[in-house]
Amino acid sequence: MVIVSVSIGFTYLYLRHKEMPFLDKMAISSFFEEEEVKVRLYFSSFDASCLALEERKIKKCEDKIEQAKLMIKELIKGPLANNLKPTLPLNCQIKEVFSHKETIFVDFDQNFVEEHCKGSCGEILTIYSIVNTLLDNLNSYKKVQFLVEGKEIETLAGHIFLQQPLFKEKRLIKVETKRGK
């Protein structure tokens, strides 16, 4: 009987513990297996005319920022489908991701700029594959601000104005159409 009531007490405490946001939850969540979540990743179409969608299962993170970081890493890895093309240089890294209100900030390393293929087309697809991927999967954010080595940059490769946060661009996402001559 003592055991029963004590165990009831502990179960109750445990449930309350879960509700408290600032107590450490790590110990509890490790009891469960690693969850996966389906994310929508946007890569370049074959002729680089638009973004094309590829869904992938990646590790689920409680923290949206960590989730964002993982998604960008997947974008860097590139598409699995062979009619899609990557939009980010393979050897660039995402240094930091953080947020303020509705804006998510992505801070890349110098390789993001140096190893880029350059050109308007390449730049647009790089920028918007990241913007659309992040904003499509994380609904609480509305804009993305780019940083390189912790600082703002005017443009990535001399074209798109990056000193302002960017919104999702839906028009780039469409079924690939063939353009005639």
Binding site: P86, C117, L172
Partner: protein, 501 residues
């Protein structure tokens, strides 16, 4: 008899059992309740605020705690933002600001604060919340600025704290293009002093170069000093007007786009244009697999366009660069604006991570809303938009010209017209895939005060196209297309006095 008493005892036992159980539950409940109560008494709310350090040019995001209607920030945040470090002694926490030569000692649970040896009293005492030390936010807002001689401004509605140099010092500083729209917080960096030096040096260099260029342009085109002043005034008036016309989508005021505004400076025949060969100098632009540099293609095509136009018409052509040199992006549009150029054409070559991508495409600026008016995000359209047949399709229903602080917004229609004409000609004459007319938020286009386009003449990342772009004949043909488009546009404009659909 035995059975009866047996039943009796078992009933009694049951009762006792129930009582005991209830007692235990009660104890458990009380225990839990007691753990909850002190927690709720110490309730507080948390808010994210932004700190804009305009002196060091840094941004931080930090937490503001509101307990019993008083706002606090943590001592560690305070030290971090002002570049200090902590020393703890029992109930005292000292924050040492070496570079400012100040030591601040906080006393937990007390209103006393020592600045060096001087004692001052805060409005409320310092607190320990969840084992972290907090100081009243009012100290930062109201007192700290005076102590370290900087200007600290709290913008309550935007949850932003701004740190600035005191006024006399501010005026001395050279002003870079400042971030007005949205400031990002990013992790603080060490060694920021060096970067500042380098930045200032390059700024000085740029200023000098600017002066030289201005002289050149003046001489080249014989621009008089009085005329320049008059133009400046005009454009200032224009800017003021356009700002007043800003539409707040939520307020549903009148639309900003007034294409036949009589105050537009860009009236009249196309007699002077600016050709901008993209990249240059230390910026090669895109580079092909066999080493073809975009900057060289751009310059060659641009030079040829200038020759063709000046031979076939009396249009004067100014180039933003005639050599292999680096010109900053905003300088390019500034040059065009300074001489009151009637058109702006930026020439580029394309690239992508996909080798198979190829073709010819032309861009105009996409209309973008400023942060303040773009609350209705779903209606904001910035980025790449495609039009099937640019010249014919003049449906702007999908484009909301919400903001008017981008000068180029006034000339979108003309830009689309010019882009359409060029794309049509290129499609016919160049034997190249047409990727259509697109719009994007291009830096080089956004501040121009005349119809402006950016043309991507082919992909250097495509092996076949790279070879074509190495060939002078092909580049000659490209230049012919561009010059033809400009002349066609000029004629069209002339025919219908004032620009009509």
């Amino acid at each position: 008899m035995m059975s009866l008493s047996h039943i009796f005892t078992s009933q009694k036992n049951k009762m006792i059992f129930n009582l005991k159980r209830r007692a235990f539950l009660l104890i458990v409940f009380l225990f839990l309740a007691s753990s909850v109560v002190p927690w709720s008494l110490g309730a507080f709310t948390i808010k994210d605020i932004l700190v804009m350090d305009n002196i060091e040019n840094l941004r931080h995001s930090m937490v503001l705690i509101n307990k019993n209607e008083i706002e606090y920030i943590s001592i560690t945040d305070f030290a971090y933002i002002f570049d200090g470090y902590l020393e703890k002694e029992d109930l005292f926490t000292k924050v040492i600001f070496k570079e400012r030569d100040k030591e601040v000692t906080f006393n937990h649970g007390s209103k006393e604060v020592f600045i060096g040896n001087e004692k001052i009293f805060l409005d409320t005492s310092c607190q320990i919340i969840k084992r972290k030390s907090y100081i009243p936010f009012s100290f930062i807002r109201e007192r700290w600025g005076e102590i370290i001689n900087i200007s600290i401004i709290w913008k309550k509605e935007q949850d932003t704290l701004i740190l600035e140099k005191k006024k006399e010092e501010k005026d001395k500083k050279v002003k870079e293009q400042s971030l007005k729209v949205f400031p990002p917080p990013y992790p603080r960096q060490r060694g920021i002093e060096k970067d500042k030096e380098v930045k200032e040096q390059s700024l000085v260099k740029e200023e000098r170069k600017k002066e030289e260029k201005d002289k050149e342009v003046k001489e080249q085109l014989l621009v008089k000093e009085e005329k320049k002043k008059a133009r400046k005034e005009e454009s200032l008036i224009k800017e003021k007007d356009s700002q007043e016309k800003t539409v707040s989508f939520l307020k549903k005021e009148e639309v900003v786009f007034d294409k036949r505004s009589h105050k537009r400076s860009n009236q009249g025949v196309v007699d002077l244009i600016t050709i901008d060969p993209g990249h240059g100098g230390k910026d090669p632009g895109a580079v092909g697999s066999t080493g073809l540099k975009e900057k060289d293609v751009n310059l060659e095509v641009a030079k040829r366009v200038k020759e063709l136009i000046e031979t076939k018409s009396n249009i004067k052509v100014m180039m933003t660069r005639q050599l292999d040199e680096f010109i900053p992006l905003r300088r390019r549009s500034e040059m065009a604006n300074a001489i009151k150029s009637k058109l702006f054409i930026s020439i580029h070559a394309n690239a992508s991570f996909s080798e198979g991508a190829d073709g010819f495409e032309t861009y105009y600026l996409s209309a973008v809303a400023s942060d303040n008016t773009a609350r209705a995000v779903s209606l904001l359209e910035n980025g790449v938009i495609e039009i099937e047949n640019g010249a014919a399709s003049k449906d702007y229903g999908y484009l909301e010209f919400i903001l008017a602080d981008m000068a180029q917004n006034q000339f979108i229609e003309e830009s689309i017209e010019l882009a359409g004409v060029l794309q049509e000609i290129a499609k016919k004459k160049l034997n190249i895939k047409s990727r259509g007319i697109k719009s994007a938020l291009f830096y080089v286009l956004k501040d121009t005060t005349m119809p402006a386009i950016l043309v991507e003449v082919g992909f250097v990342s495509n092996p076949t196209e790279e070879q074509r772009l190495k060939d002078s004949c092909f580049k000659e043909k490209i230049a012919e297309c561009i010059s033809e488009a400009i002349l066609a546009y000029k004629d069209k404009y002339k025919e219908s006095s004032g620009f009509t659909k």
